[in-house]
């Protein structure tokens, strides 16, 4: 078991003929994934990755002809929101968007579109998903992770790798690692993933790595208090980030809550989350919790 992706996932890569898209599609294929095709409008009927996979014009074709149910997006920022909507419209179940730099207005629209379908969006501007030993849908370095029972949720890329490597150093593998992205509008928030991990029989404990800004960690902590029984180990990056560097007035007060690291950590503790002060102690803290 795992969440969102596993060895049976049938993956397409939107933007497979681009530089980033072809490089990472090849990496996913090497990881042993079932990459069933790519989508590049106007290049349908061709092949990609040295003839290894077919290219389709549309996600609808890829869904119909190749049975795709997971999509990985490397489309440039100006067109990425459209690619997300296309995948959702075609009925792709899990859409992972790696693209960085998508205009916020485009994402507000895409989020609204996806919400009205049965698809789930991860990202954008994220490292994607990794179910060690089964499937990699994104750009995480597969070799640092091991199959196991810890679910990992993180806003950041390299800090996720740091946490995963600390877990592995303690002999702990991961069920699924999810990089949700740090953009203002993202498809899947922390609390949604907490529930998925709670429902996953294989996951024993959850690592949740947040950052300053926004109120997602607060919402997740609130949700965890009443809905999540599995232990959650949390860290918030940015304890030393200078105050007042956030954007203007209005952004800071929308939630009505304090968005500093200290405030988030205190709130998470209050909700029963085990909060780690030092980023070097994530792995060892999980180990100690599981020993109890």
């Amino acid at each position: 078991m795992s969440i969102l992706i596993n060895k049976d996932s049938r993956i397409i890569v939107q933007g497979i003929t681009g530089k980033e898209g072809s490089f990472h599609a090849e990496q996913c294929l090497e990881y042993g994934n079932n990459v069933v095709g790519g989508v590049t409008p106007g290049k349908g009927g061709q092949t990609a990755l040295d003839g290894k996979v077919p290219v389709f014009d549309t996600c609808h074709d890829a869904r119909e002809k190749a049975g795709a149910n997971v999509s990985l997006i490397f489309v440039p920022p100006a067109f990425a929101a459209d690619a997300i909507k296309e995948a959702a419209d075609a009925g792709i179940e899990v859409i992972v968007c790696i693209t960085e730099g998508i205009p916020v207005a485009d994402m507000i629209d895409a989020y609204d579109f996806v919400k009205k379908t049965n698809s789930r969006l991860i990202g954008p501007n994220c490292p994607g998903l990794l179910t060690p030993g089964e499937a990699k849908v994104g750009i995480m370095p597969g070799f640092i992770a091991r199959k196991g029972t810890i679910g990992v949720i993180s806003k950041s890329g390299t800090l996720t790798y740091e946490a995963v490597s600390q877990l592995v150093a303690q002999g702990l593998g991961q069920s699924t690692c999810v990089g949700i992205g740090g953009d203002p509008v993202i498809g899947t928030k922390m609390k949604d993933l907490l529930q998925l991990f709670e429902d996953d029989a294989e996951t024993e404990a959850i690592v949740m790595i947040g950052e300053i800004g926004g109120s997602m960690e607060i919402e997740a902590a609130d949700y965890a208090k009443t809905h999540i029984k599995k232990p959650i180990i949390g860290f918030i990056a940015g304890q030393t980030a200078p105050a007042g560097r956030r954007m203007g007035h209005a952004g800071a007060i929308v939630s009505g809550a304090d968005e500093s690291a200290a405030a988030k950590m205190a709130y998470m503790k209050k909700c029963g989350i085990i909060v780690v002060d030092s980023p070097s102690e994530i792995g060892v803290t999980v180990k100690n919790i599981l020993k109890r």
């Binding site: 890329g157 390299t158 800090l159 007035h249 007060i253 690291a261 102690e281």
Partner: protein, 394 residues
């Protein structure tokens, strides 16, 4: 990206939003003619001199002055132009005032607050309005949150007439002002959407004694990701308002923010960069900067990163913390070796490389003969760099 008040008002004007108007001046010789121009164009006998800096809280720092006559206006204008303005939102050194707006003074009957921005929790735009105009909205939010009205806009439908009316009723608008306000709000929303703003804030929005609804001040932030479709807005960028080192860093696609400590950091990824600053602090040190070299850490980025970190004379030691995923550590190591040699570094450099080809990278560093302190793990790296910075200081 931020812009000045006078630029914000130019944009509002294009959307038929009534503003407190005026003339912008950037040298003392032009002050008098500007005041005469405002006097004739807007039929004004009293003026407000407003410093044009990006930081808020200008009034508190003495950057906004009411002037009851032309003589008073000239005096205030000459004092404000060229002053170093310190407000709660500037750095401690303050911000040089290079431009002022000579504005018509209006007779204000009542002040309001209106803003549009993204509500991240709902992934929708929200309109916020309050009768407590002119105050800092954070204070209103803290002390009387019930006085802030919030209305969320459905992305697929846009702002609806009934929503604008709801806000107008809640703010207590009546008659002619009610009509003016709902029209203004609808135009403000159009403006926010069409310009890809991340915030538009009118504080205060006023009703004048003559019964007109007018934007007295205006603040915009724009979504950097969307600037490619707004060349006219990019034209408005004023790099004089930005930290010169941060501007320099942005030219090399480096994300740099200067801090007050003495331990320089170079890290790939914003989250890991913040975590690295955090652990330096936990180990008793003080980070000198935030620097994210991004996904392409090669010889050039490492060199430019060093240059930017070392332009801060407070830096006594540097920590390089790279977790290679796609980035190959051996390439980063070669970059570090070359940079240290070329730049003839005199201060201790602690290097922690993890991930893809990390072993090879460590070997390259130790064989290179350059004076680098290798570290393994986040805690070890932080301890070593803090000790090095303290040693260098003593």
């Amino acid at each position: 990206m931020k812009i000045h008040e006078y630029q914000a008002k130019e944009i509002l004007k294009k959307y038929s939003i009534p503003i407190q108007d005026g003339v912008v001046v950037d040298n003392a010789d032009a002050v008098e003619s500007a005041i005469n121009q405002v006097s004739t164009t807007f039929n004004a006998s009293q003026f407000v001199i407003k410093a044009q800096v990006h930081a808020g809280g200008r009034g508190k720092g003495g950057g906004v002055k009411f002037s009851s006559s032309k003589e008073k206006a000239i005096e205030n204008a000459k004092n404000i132009l060229g002053m170093t303005l310190i407000t709660p939102q500037t750095s401690a050194e303050g911000q040089l005032v290079q431009k002022i707006m000579v504005a018509e003074a209006l007779d204000i009957a009542k002040e309001y607050y209106v803003a549009i921005t993204l509500d991240r929790a709902k992934s929708k735009n929200v309109i916020m309005a309050s009768t407590e105009g002119g105050m800092e909205i954070e204070e209103v939010a803290e002390h009387s949150p019930e006085k802030i009205i919030r209305v969320w806009v459905e992305p697929a439908h846009g702002l609806q007439g009934f929503q604008a009316r709801y806000i107008a009723f809640k703010l207590g608008f009546e008659g002619e002002q009610f009509k003016q306000f709902t029209k203004l709000l609808s135009n403000l929303y159009k403006c926010y959407i069409n310009t890809d703003a991340s915030i538009v804030e009118v504080n205060p929005l006023v009703i004048t004694e003559q019964g007109n609804v007018v934007a007295l001040d205006a603040k915009f932030n724009f979504d950097d990701n969307a600037l490619y479709r707004h060349p006219d807005i990019v034209e408005m960028r004023d790099t004089n308002e930005e930290d010169p080192t941060e501007v320099e860093a942005s030219k090399f696609n480096l994300n740099y923010i200067k801090l007050d400590g003495n331990v320089g950091c170079m890290v790939n990824g914003a989250g890991l960069a913040m975590a690295t600053m955090d652990i330096i602090k936990l180990k008793g040190g003080d980070p000198a900067n935030f620097l994210d070299v991004g996904g392409g850490a090669n010889v050039e980025t490492v060199k430019n990163g060093f240059r930017i970190i070392l332009s801060d004379p407070n830096v006594k030691a540097v920590l390089i913390n790279i977790f290679g995923g796609i980035v190959r550590c051996d390439r980063v190591a070669n970059g570090i070796i070359q940079a240290v040699k070329e730049l003839d570094l005199k201060i201790p450099v602690v290097v922690r490389l993890e991930g893809t080809n990390a072993e090879l990278a460590k070997q390259l560093l130790s064989e290179s003969g350059v004076a680098i302190i290798p570290a393994s793990g986040l805690a070890d790296a932080a301890e070593k760099v803090v000790a090095a910075a303290q040693g260098a200081k003593n």
